[in-house]
């Protein structure tokens, strides 16, 4: 790790317990420490139900920590304040709003004047290939396009950190691969720092700079892998042809397998 690289987000022994005061507390996240560098994509891979989404909610400030701390830009996260942009498996587009008005949602919340917000949205829409669909309703778009609109909405808001929670898992295989490569290109171009939750190891390797493997619930960090090609190869399909890809894939696969099952 080079010292010049700036840390955008830092989790320090973050711990989340549900129903802590009750007789049956559920420890979802035991202790997670990780750092996200500016402009990097960090993937979190773990067995399903291991507490990844809980960790996400904690980073977004939607649920409180029971221990440790999470800070964004050096400031401790205490509540949701728009420091992170959220993108889920569900696109969560508002069906009654047009594409452009969906993209401006976050800006409206922040109190940006309508005209200005629309200008920003229009630029994003044109730059990323949705021109002509500004006034369509989401119901008229394909799943891949809808997710792209959701990404535009996240980008328009210019959050410090973008959280992607299995954003492609509801799409068919081809759309998924295409969108992975699009999203990777877009976040590189915009210089965004991203945490990506996925249980698709291939997706993690092809999109991320580093991959954090989590244990079963309660989640802790098991291993961290750095992809050897850095930012050289950005095409997710080309990445899959590299010899290191297979090697990494089976390594992570084994690490996940080794986790005890209940």
């Amino acid at each position: 790790m080079s010292l010049t690289q700036e840390t955008v987000l830092e989790a320090d022994e973050a711990r989340v317990v549900y129903n802590e005061d009750s007789d049956t507390p559920v420890e979802a996240v035991r202790s997670i420490s990780l750092d996200l560098r500016r402009g990097e994509v960090l993937a979190l891979v773990g067995p399903s139900g291991c507490g990844k989404t809980t960790l996400f909610n904690a980073i977004a400030g939607l649920i409180p920590l029971q221990g440790g701390r999470v800070s964004v830009g050096g400031i401790e996260v205490e509540k949701a304040s728009g420091h992170v942009g959220y993108m889920l498996q569900k696109d969560l587009l508002l069906p009654w709003r047009s594409v452009i008005d969906n993209v401006t949602l976050g800006l409206e919340v922040r109190g940006k004047p309508k005209g200005e917000a629309r200008k920003i949205a229009q630029e994003l829409i044109e730059r990323y290939g949705l021109a002509g669909f500004e006034n369509s309703k989401p119901s008229g778009l394909s799943g891949g396009m809808r997710q792209r609109v959701a990404l535009m909405r996240t980008l328009a808001f210019e959050p410090e950190v973008i959280l992607l929670d299995e954003p492609f898992s509801a799409l068919d295989f081809q759309t998924r691969i295409l969108l992975q490569s699009d999203v990777k290109r877009i976040i590189r171009e915009e210089g965004k720092s991203v945490i990506l939750i996925t249980h698709d190891i291939g997706e993690a390797i092809s999109m991320a700079n580093r991959i954090v493997v989590l244990t079963n619930r309660p989640a802790t960090v098991k291993t961290v892998h750095e992809v050897p090609w850095g930012d050289e190869v950005t095409d997710p399909v080309a990445v899959r042809d590299r010899p290191e890809y297979q090697e990494m894939f089976s390594k992570i696969w084994q690490e996940l397998e080794l986790a005890p099952r209940h």
Binding site: N57, A60, G61, L62, A80, S81, G82, V84, G85, Y86, L88, K90, L92, L94, P95, W96, L105, G106, E108, V109, R110, F157
Partner: protein, 276 residues
């Protein structure tokens, strides 16, 4: 006067939002269906007439098609039918508008206070279960014998239905959307305005549909109990006099009113649908 208890009333079911529209049928098919619809009407009237001719139906118990027509003509000519229709229409429409608008507003606003929603929960269940028309005699006592009491009955019943449906709508809004708004740093009011209110519109609209019927029941039953004018009054009064032909005229007039109101609500539905 035990008429009120004879009026069966469906419990307020939480109707699901309308399904996506189908393609409009071809014009030719639509005309054929209209023709069949008139055919059914004519067949029923013919059956009625045949029943009278063969002696299965007694004219003084069932009325006669011709007698209904005569009664209709007389009452149109002397203006009484128009007058009764006009009185009931005002009661229904005013009650409907007051009840639906205040009820929907109250149901939406309740989202802002989960505490009050919890406090009011048992009351909502009780209101949902009780045959709302049972309130009618009370309201007559409070509001008197004039039109005001019928407006009040229709308004109170439709208020309850609109209130419950609108609140239900707010509860059906995707929790992930609310999480998304929170993560954006939205205030509760912003979430309400931008997500909860527009998201509840399909529920509010389906309540309008239900409430056309409830407003009619409210006004008519109110007139049964005690009134000086209106179609309900006319039906009840004619029934007492065994003037079955006039009873039928009143019932058919109420059906026509229901059809008109349904058509108006369908229009509103379409307008809201376009905006939403």
């Amino acid at each position: 006067m035990a008429m009120a208890t004879d009026i069966g009333e469906a419990k307020t079911q939480t109707a699901a939002p309308p399904a996506p529209k189908r393609k409009p049928r071809k014009a030719a098919g639509r005309w054929r269906i209209t023709a069949y619809q008139f055919g059914v009407l004519l067949a029923l009237i013919a059956l009625w007439q045949v029943g009278l001719w063969t002696g299965v139906l007694r004219p003084y118990i069932y009325g006669t098609p011709l007698g209904v027509l005569q009664s209709f003509a007389t009452q149109i000519a002397n203006g009484t039918l128009i007058w009764h229709f006009w009185v009931t229409a005002q009661e229904v429409v005013l009650g409907f508008v007051i009840g639906c608008s205040l009820g929907s507003l109250a149901g939406l606003l309740l989202w802002l206070s989960p505490l009050w929603a919890k406090i009011l929960h048992p009351y909502m269940i009780a209101l949902n279960g009780v045959p709302k028309i049972a309130l009618a005699p009370l309201i007559i006592v409070w509001f008197g014998l004039g039109m005001e009491s019928k407006i009040a009955i229709a308004a109170i019943i439709t208020f309850i239905v609109a209130f419950l449906q609108a609140y239900k709508g707010t509860q059906e809004v995707d929790q992930d959307l609310i999480r998304l708004m929170k993560s954006l740093g939205a205030s509760q009011w912003q979430t309400f305005r931008k997500i909860v209110m527009p998201g509840s519109v399909p529920w509010i609209v389906s309540a309008l549909r239900l409430n056309v019927g409830f407003a009619l029941i409210g006004a008519v039953v109110g007139e049964y109990i005690s009134a000086e004018a209106g179609l309900g009054y006319m039906v009840y009064y004619s029934g007492q006099l065994y003037d079955l032909n006039s009873v039928w005229v009143g019932i058919f007039s109420l059906m026509i009113m229901a059809l008109i109101l349904e058509a108006v609500v369908a229009r509103i539905e379409k307008l809201l649908d376009m905006e939403v």
